[in-house]
Amino acid sequence: MKDAVRIQEEDFSQDEEITALKTSSQRMGGIATFLGCARDFSEGREVSRISFEAYGSMALSEMKQLRLDAIEKFKLLDARIVHRICTVTAGDNIVFIAAGAEHRAPALEACRYMIDELKERVPIWKKEITPEGDAWVSPHP
């Protein structure tokens, strides 16, 4: 089985990730997921591609700690985080987060917590490639 926390170039399968999550416990009554994908428009401009760069070792370590923090904080049964580092085009998958708990409330809250914290804690940067030129993205909510 693939690691629960990964940084990879290639696309991921949501079905495979959810199946892996479910195998960790049969007490899981609620699974919440977040899928981040690439848009073709941002800040009033067309976006052709999005390129990601990471401080790989720290990003992976922070993502692993973030998963553990979420499991502890929300009493999750399991959680998974996968982020792609590559160049993507509109509609492509970027990040997948899944939280499994006995009930829906902690699963939903944990999923929101993990994507919000990922944006604050994990050293990954994205550059938008547009017909007018390239620009690193400033973070926004």
């Binding site: 990471a54 401080y55 370590s61 050293p123 940067w125 550059k127 690193w136 400033s138």
Partner: protein, 79 residues
């Protein structure tokens, strides 16, 4: 030596992804930051985060140890 790394938007402004800076006894993260900010002022306009050996550091008064890996980073935009 202190190994300094830059990523993403910061590299565009330093022109280099890695530097080696001579370690000096008593050197703190703040001293290193100030030295580099003088050399790369445009890069440090967007630097708001730092890590030492892959760990977030918010207190820049911490002393550095020889052979540390120090990263000065712009705000993250993953996800």
């Amino acid at each position: 030596m202190i190994n300094v790394l830059f990523f993403g938007p910061v590299v565009e402004r330093t022109g280099s992804a890695a530097l080696k800076i001579e370690f000096m006894p008593g050197m703190t993260l703040q001293i290193l930051r100030d030295e580099l900010a003088e050399k790369y002022p445009r890069a440090f306009e967007i630097v708001s985060l730092a890590a030492v050996n892959g760990q977030h550091v918010r207190d820049f008064s911490i002393p550095l140890i020889d052979n540390s890996e120090v990263t000065f980073m712009a705000k993250f935009s993953g996800g």
